[in-house]
């Protein structure tokens, strides 16, 4: 797994660490460690079987041990014993410390908590003490062995911890670099998207604008024709003409709707808005429609929230207009606007007693140009609810409907209390 180049890099990286550690080991330490190692060697069969059994139940190590072939486990155990022996008895600490460093790095790369490794050591200690007590009732002879063990493991674990932390830092730095790279890419993509969006808007605007021009000319001439030659036409001729101007008007309405729809989010800044005030303004604007339809609009105390004033007003206006428009013929429209505080967002509901919508169309109605009725039944462009959806999404919310045909509809929309600044700048900056 580790090549020589990497080995030497590690050696350099931890040269200072090794020097200071090795120089901190004195003769008494060595004697105690020797005592520990002798004892450990004698009892290793017993210790090893017990330890393996204990580790089998461990949530992390259990899996590692089970996945390893038995002879590989055996080899690793032997190797670690050998390295221990060479270090303590022959002073070959470099090899031992490098081994510890590698293990630390391995754990850091696997993102395994360092404590887990420490837990294993605690297991060894816990097992050592009762065995020590059994074999030697003499406290004075046990103590150096225990101290030797502690010193030996502290040394090893100290190195391992340093390596772990160093590598962890490395991993984090790599992750940061990766994040930076991704962020840069994201920024570039967003910028490109902004440009594309701008192009598209310009296209929609220019197309609509250019379409309007010949349309207006055609419409003007057909009006002129009607004025000057209507009397010369028979009934069929008059009918043709009426269809011509009717289609012209419809086209102009559609183009204007499309222009407005493609321009959502291009004006104004977010403001703190009192929905109660917004609604009263909307109701003033719709006064005539409300009176003509004998509609009754009530609203509960509505929230104060952050949003785009023109757009939110348009949202309420569209929903209320729809509620009145799709009324039942024989029943006066009753519209009730309520709001609910749902922790991190507001949920607003516009309820009516109109004709309602079948469940099959709950989603479809929010698509642009999707209509459920003929122009004769209910005139319209099929842009209104698509517009509403776009406005709600501009605010980071959702819109949906629940309804029963013949009973009425409830249009809900949610507006988050805290908006994500990044997405809004994204949505806005290209247009300005």
């Amino acid at each position: 797994m580790m090549n020589h180049e990497k080995d030497s890099r590690l050696k350099n990286r931890y040269a200072n660490l090794m020097d200071s550690l090795i120089s901190s080991i004195n003769d008494i330490d060595i004697q105690k460690m020797k005592a520990y190692h002798e004892f450990f060697k004698d009892k290793q069969e017993d210790l090893r079987d017990w330890l393996t059994k204990e580790l089998m139940d461990h949530p992390v190590f259990g899996e590692v041990i089970r996945s390893m072939p038995k002879d590989a486990l055996e080899k690793q155990w032997q190797l670690s014993q050998q390295i221990q022996y060479h270090a303590i008895f022959e002073g070959k600490w470099e090899e031992y410390i490098l081994h510890q460093i590698q293990q630390g790095i391995q754990y850091a790369q696997m993102n395994v908590s360092f404590h887990l490794w420490y837990d294993v050591l605690s297991l060894v200690r816990n097992r050592m003490i009762p065995i020590l007590m059994e074999t030697s009732p003499n406290y004075a002879s046990i103590l150096p062995i225990l101290e030797g063990m502690n010193r030996f493991y502290d040394l090893g674990m100290g190195v391992m911890a340093e390596a772990y932390l160093g590598e962890k830092q490395n991993v984090i730095e790599n992750q940061k670099m990766e994040e930076k790279r991704i962020n840069k890419k994201l920024k570039r993509t967003l910028h490109e998207m902004g440009l594309k969006n701008q192009e598209l808007e310009q296209f929609a605007y220019i197309a609509s604008h250019d379409l309007k021009e010949p349309l207006r000319t055609a419409s003007s001439f057909s009006k002129l024709f009607e004025k000057k030659y209507k009397d010369a036409l028979d009934e069929k001729g008059k009918m043709y003409l009426s269809h011509i101007s009717g289609s012209h008007e419809r086209m102009i309405t559609l183009i204007n709707g499309l222009l407005e729809y493609s321009h959502i989010g291009k004006e104004g800044e977010r403001e703190i808005l009192d929905c109660n005030r917004l609604i009263s303004e909307v109701l003033e604007d719709l006064d005539q429609m409300i009176k003509e339809n004998n509609a009754k609009v009530t609203c509960e105390k509505l929230p104060v929230l952050e949003g785009f004033p023109t757009q939110l007003k348009l949202l309420f206006q569209n929903l209320i207009t729809n509620a009145i428009k799709f009324r039942k013929k024989e029943v006066n429209p009753i519209i009730d606007i309520t709001a609910q505080d749902n922790q991190n967002h507001w949920e607003v509901c516009v309820r009516d007693n109109g004709i309602g919508i079948e469940e099959a169309y709950y989603q479809k109605i929010f698509n642009i140009f999707q209509r459920l009725h003929t122009k004769k039944e209910y005139n319209g462009t099929g842009i209104g609810l698509a517009h509403c959806k776009k406005i709600v999404e501009l605010h980071g919310g959702k819109i949906w409907v629940s309804s029963q045909p013949g009973t009425g509809s409830k249009f809900y929309f949610s507006i988050p209390k805290q908006h994500n600044h990044d997405t809004t700048t994204q949505m806005h900056s290209p247009g300005r």
């Binding site: 009918m239 009717g246 289609s247 459920l372 009725h373 003929t374 004769k376």
Partner: protein, 136 residues
């Protein structure tokens, strides 16, 4: 030259379009009856309870795809179920402003559909159709 069909049904939500198509068909004098439905639902109703006996199973149905509520595809689904028992079947022609190739492909895969044409209906289109399906 032109055969005398008994009934043609026009299904389109746009009133001027229906008017125009009706006008063209009347000028050619191809069919005794021309009935118009402005929604797919209305068309189904007309087929179930025809005002004219000849229109119980029309010779041709010209069908728009993009209609409010139930669209042209929905109509074909419903109609296929409704008329499974009938031996005589009308020719269904899709008549649409859609330039979407996916729509055309979809139409080709539906056996009830006799053809896919672009609005508006013209005399040439009708004559071609007649030659193909009513040669005598």
């Amino acid at each position: 030259m032109t055969p005398q069909l008994k009934c043609i049904l026009l299904v389109d939500d746009d009133e001027p379009t229906n008017y125009l198509h009706q006008d063209v068909l009347e000028d050619i004098g191809i069919s005794k009856n021309i009935t118009v439905a402005e929604t797919a639902a209305e068309a189904l109703q007309l087929l179930q309870r025809p005002k004219i006996a000849d229109c119980k199973v029309p010779d041709i149905i010209f069908l728009d795809l993009n209609m409010p509520g139930m669209n042209g595809w929905d109509f074909i689904d419903e109609y296929a179920q409704m008329h499974r028992a009938y031996s005589k079947k009308p020719l269904i022609y899709i008549l649409t402003t859609s330039t979407n190739p996916a729509d055309k492909k979809k139409a080709e895969g539906i056996k009830e559909i006799a053809g896919f044409m672009s609005k508006p209906l013209t005399e040439d289109m009708i004559m071609n159709m007649v030659q193909q399906h009513f040669p005598d």
